[in-house]
C-alpha cells in the first residue's frame, strides 16, 4: 500500500468572499497576484513535501492547473524536477500531465525522462486530458481534446520504447526526427496512473492499457460503481483487477483537538473548493465531452460534472457564476458537512482520522491512498502539524490495516499480472457490504 501526500499548492492571498464575489477561482484577475507571497509559498510547499518524506509517506503527488489561484502548479514538471533532486526516497506521482495543452508530446517525453533519471527511477507518471479551463487558458481546441490526448500518449510511449531515430506523421503531431536522448530510468516506461472524475470513458481507456485508475475524491458508492466497471472491463480481457489497479484521493486534515481540526479543516472546502473551480462556460466547453456524455448530461440534469448541469449551461447570464457570496457560504458549510459524512473529507484527531480512513480502505480496497491537504489560507504551521500527526500516528495504523486487508500496490503486484480463466467470474474489487454498513450509520 502506498500513502501519498499531496497538496494543491493553493495561492494563499485571496479571501473566500473574493472568490464568491468573482464567481470562481479560474479567471480571477492576476492583478491580485502577490509575488513575494507566491515565492515564499512555492518554497514552503517544497518543504512540506520534504517533511512528508521524513514522516514516512511513500510518495508525494503533484497536479497541474493553469492561470488559477486554486493551484499554483502551473507547470508540474518544474516542481517535479525540483522534488526529484530534493527528495531521496519518496516516489513522485504526477496526476498528471495534461497531454493536449502542452501541444508537444515529444518535449513531454523528454521532460519526464529527465525527472525519472534525476530521481533515479522514482517517477510515477500520470496522464490527463486537462479540464475545460486548461483548454481555454492554453487555447487548445476542446473538440480535439480526446484525440490530442490519445495520439500524444501513444507517441510518448513509442518515443520511450522504440529505438530512434524515426519519423512520425500523425494526425495532430508531426516529427521528422524522434530520437530523445534522455530515456526514462525505469524500463520500459515509468509506472503510470490515470486520474479521473467518474468518467467511464477514461476508466475503460485505463483498463485497456493495464493502467491503474485514480478516483479524484469521489464518494464511496460512485467510486465503487466505477471501479466495478473498470474491473469488468479488465475481466473481459481475462484479467483480475485488484488493489494494484486503484488509487483514491481523500481530503485530510489532522490536528490535536477535534475542535481545532474541525475549524482549520474547513479550509478543505475553502471558497467551495472544487465546486467553484471554474464557471460553467469554462468547465464544459463545447466539444470537450463526447456526444454520449452530452446525451447523459442532457437527460440527467441533476447528474452534472463538477457541478455543471444542463440547466447551468442554459443560463442566460453573461457570466455564469458558480455562486453568490451568501449562497457560497451556505453551500460551503453544507458541503463540508456532507463530504465528511461521505468520507470524501476526513478531519479530526489522529484517532478519529485513522478510524475513518480505515473505513475507506475496507470499503474501496485501494492500493494507493492520496491524502490531500487543505486549500486556502491556513498557515504553514498548521499544514506541517497535520503532516507530522499523520506520519506519527495515522500512517502506522493504516499500514497495519492495509496489510490485514491485503492491499497490494502497483509496485508489489503489477496491474494486469493476475489472469482469469476464460469464463471464470472475477473476484470483488470493492466491499459493497462495508459501504452499505457505513452508509447505514455514517460517522457523525
Amino acid at each position: 500500500m502506498q500513502f501519498v501526500y499531496m497538496s494543491e499548492r493553493p495561492y494563499r492571498g485571496l479571501t473566500e468572499d473574493q472568490i464568491y464575489e468573482h464567481g470562481s477561482f479560474f479567471t480571477f484577475p492576476n492583478s491580485a497576484f502577490d509575488r513575494q507571497l507566491a515565492s515564499d509559498d512555492y518554497n514552503a510547499y517544497f518543504d512540506q513535501a520534504l517533511l512528508a518524506e521524513q514522516m514516512g509517506f511513500d510518495a508525494v503527488g503533484l497536479n497541474e492547473h493553469h492561470g488559477n489561484p486554486f493551484c499554483m502548479g502551473s507547470v508540474l514538471n518544474v516542481e517535479a524536477s525540483v522534488l526529484a533532486r530534493l527528495t531521496e526516497r519518496v516516489k513522485i506521482v504526477l496526476i498528471g500531465n495534461p497531454i493536449p495543452v502542452g501541444r508537444n508530446p515529444l518535449r513531454l517525453a523528454e521532460e519526464l525522462a529527465m525527472i525519472d533519471l534525476i530521481s533515479r527511477g522514482r517517477l510515477v507518471t500520470g496522464w490527463v486530458r486537462g479540464s475545460g479551463p486548461e483548454q481555454f487558458f492554453n487555447n487548445v481546441n476542446p473538440a480535439y481534446n480526446r484525440e490530442l490526448f490519445e495520439e500524444g500518449h501513444d507517441l510518448i510511449i513509442k518515443a520511450w520504447t522504440r529505438p530512434g531515430p524515426w519519423r512520425y506523421e500523425g494526425k495532430h503531431f508531426h516529427y521528422r526526427h524522434v530520437n530523445p536522448w534522455a530515456l526514462p530510468f525505469q524500463k520500459p516506461i515509468p509506472p503510470t496512473i490515470i486520474p479521473g472524475v467518474l468518467s467511464r470513458e477514461t476508466a475503460a481507456w485505463a483498463a485497456a492499457r493495464d493502467y491503474p485508475y485514480l478516483g479524484l475524491g469521489s464518494a464511496l458508492k460512485p467510486s465503487a460503481e466505477l471501479w466495478n466497471f473498470y474491473a469488468d472491463e479488465f475481466a473481459a480481457r481475462d484479467l483480475q483487477a485488484g488493489p494494484e489497479n486503484f488509487g483514491h484521493v481523500v481530503f485530510v486534515y489532522v490536528d490535536e483537538t477535534p475542535e481545532r481540526a474541525q475549524e482549520i479543516g474547513r479550509s478543505l472546502v475553502f471558497a467551495g473548493g472544487n465546486a467553484n473551480f471554474a464557471k460553467a462556460q469554462h468547465t464544459l466547453p463545447a466539444g470537450y465531452n463526447s456526444p454520449s456524455a452530452i446525451k447523459r448530461l442532457a437527460n440527467a440534469p441533476q447528474g452534472g460534472w463538477l457541478g455543471i448541469t444542463k440547466d447551468r449551461l442554459e443560463e442566460e447570464k453573461v457570466d455564469v457564476k458558480a455562486v453568490t457570496i451568501a449562497e457560497g457560504r451556505r453551500k460551503t458549510e453544507s458541503a463540508y458537512e456532507r463530504m465528511q459524512k461521505n468520507l470524501q473529507i476526513v478531519v479530526g484527531t489522529p484517532d478519529q482520522v485513522t478510524e475513518k480512513l480505515k473505513v475507506v480502505l475496507r470499503c474501496l480496497r485501494p492500493g494507493m491512498l492520496f491524502m490531500m491537504s487543505p486549500l486556502g489560507n491556513i498557515s504553514h504551521e498548521d499544514r506541517r502539524r497535520s503532516i507530522e500527526l499523520m506520519g506519527r500516528h495515522v500512517l502506522p495504523e493504516l499500514r497495519e490495516e492495509s496489510e490485514r486487508l491485503g492491499l497490494a500496490d502497483m509496485f508489489q503486484r503489477r496491474p494486469g499480472s493476475v489472469s482469469l480463466a476464460p469464463g471464470q467470474p472475477r473476484a470483488a474489487v470493492v466491499d459493497l457490504q462495508a459501504i452499505e454498513e457505513y452508509e447505514a450509520s455514517p460517522v457523525a
Binding site: P142, A286, I294, N299, E314, E315, E316, V318
Partner: protein, 265 residues
C-alpha cells in the same frame, strides 16, 4: 410550417447530406449559421412564392453525419462546392448566415462560377480590423443564443428558443457548437487567407447585410468583406442584431428580394 419542408438525403462523396426543400421557383441555396438550421421562419415564407429554398444541414450538427476529414470552414466550403456542382442546380443564388455566410464565401473563392448572386448576412470569416468577434464559445449555450439578437423580445426568437430547452435541442445545439469549435477554434472564426482568395472573385454580385447592433460580428468583419469582394455592397439594417431576418423581417425581405430579383448589372 417546418412540416411542409421536403426532406431528402443527398450522397456527396459517400456522405449522406440531409437536404431540406421548401417554396417554389428558382432555387436559392441557404446555408444556416453555427447554431444549426433554426426552422422555417416567416422570412422564408415571404420569399417562398418565388424561390425554392435548398437547405443542406451542415455535417456534424446532429442530422448529417460528421465528416472526419473536415478541419476548417474552408473544407466545408470545398465539400459544399462539390455538392452544388453535382446537384444539377447549375449556377445558383445563395444566402448564408454568419458561419454559413463564411462557407458561401469560401465556395465563391474556390469556384467563382458556382454562384450568380450571393447574400452574406452578418458573415464570420474575415478578421475585423477593429473590434473582435464575440467569443461565443466562451459563454454558455443560452448566452450565445441570447447574444444573437439585440432585442430579446424578438417574436420569432421567443418561439424558437424561449423557455426551457428540450434534451433533444440541447444535444443539437451542443453538437453544432462542438463542430463549430472543431472547425474554427483558432484563429477564432476567421481565416486570414480568405480576403486574398476572395480578391480574384469579380463576377459574383454580392449583398452584405449587417444589423448595426450585431453583438457577434463587429462592423470590421463586414467592411473586410466589402473590401475583399469587388462586386459587393453593404446594406445596414438599423437596430437589428445578428439575426436581421427575424429582428427586422420586412426590411430584410425587401432588400434581399430587390437584390435577388433585380436585372443583372
Amino acid at each position: 410550417m417546418a412540416g411542409e419542408l421536403g426532406e431528402s438525403v443527398v450522397d456527396v462523396g459517400g456522405v449522406g447530406v440531409v437536404m431540406l426543400e421548401g417554396g417554389s421557383g428558382r432555387p436559392l441555396l441557404m446555408l444556416h449559421d453555427e447554431l444549426g438550421f433554426p426552422g422555417w421562419m416567416r422570412w422564408n415564407g415571404d420569399l417562398a412564392g418565388s424561390r425554392r429554398f435548398v437547405i443542406p444541414l451542415q455535417p456534424g450538427f446532429g442530422r448529417t453525419p460528421q465528416v472526419q476529414w473536415f478541419e476548417s470552414i474552408r473544407d466545408v466550403g470545398s465539400f459544399y462546392t462539390r455538392m452544388v456542382r453535382e446537384s444539377g442546380l447549375g449556377t445558383v443564388d445563395v444566402v448564408g448566415f454568419s458561419a454559413g455566410a463564411w462557407i458561401a464565401a469560401e465556395m465563391a473563392a474556390s469556384d467563382p462560377g458556382l454562384f450568380n448572386r450571393m447574400v452574406l448576412v452578418a458573415p464570420l470569416g474575415i478578421r475585423p480590423e477593429e473590434g473582435e468577434i464575440f467569443d461565443f464559445l466562451a459563454v454558455t449555450m443560452r448566452r450565445h443564443i441570447a447574444a444573437t439578437v439585440s432585442n430579446q423580445g424578438a417574436e420569432e426568437l421567443k418561439e424558437i428558443y424561449g423557455g426551457g430547452i428540450s434534451s433533444e435541442r440541447f444535444e443539437m445545439f451542443e453538437a453544432a457548437r462542438a463542430e463549430t469549435s472543431r472547425l474554427a477554434w483558432e484563429p477564432f472564426m476567421f481565416d486570414p487567407t480568405l480576403p486574398h482568395r476572395l480578391d480574384g472573385v469579380s463576377d459574383v454580385e454580392t449583398l452584405i447585410i449587417w444589423g448595426d447592433e450585431d453583438q457577434i460580428v463587429p462592423r470590421g468583419c463586414v467592411e473586410g468583406y466589402k473590401r475583399a469582394i469587388k462586386n459587393s455592397r453593404l446594406e445596414l439594417i438599423h437596430g437589428a442584431g445578428h439575426r436581421p431576418e427575424i429582428e427586422d423581417r420586412e426590411r430584410f425581405v425587401k432588400v434581399v428580394s430587390e437584390f435577388l430579383e433585380s436585372p443583372s448589372a
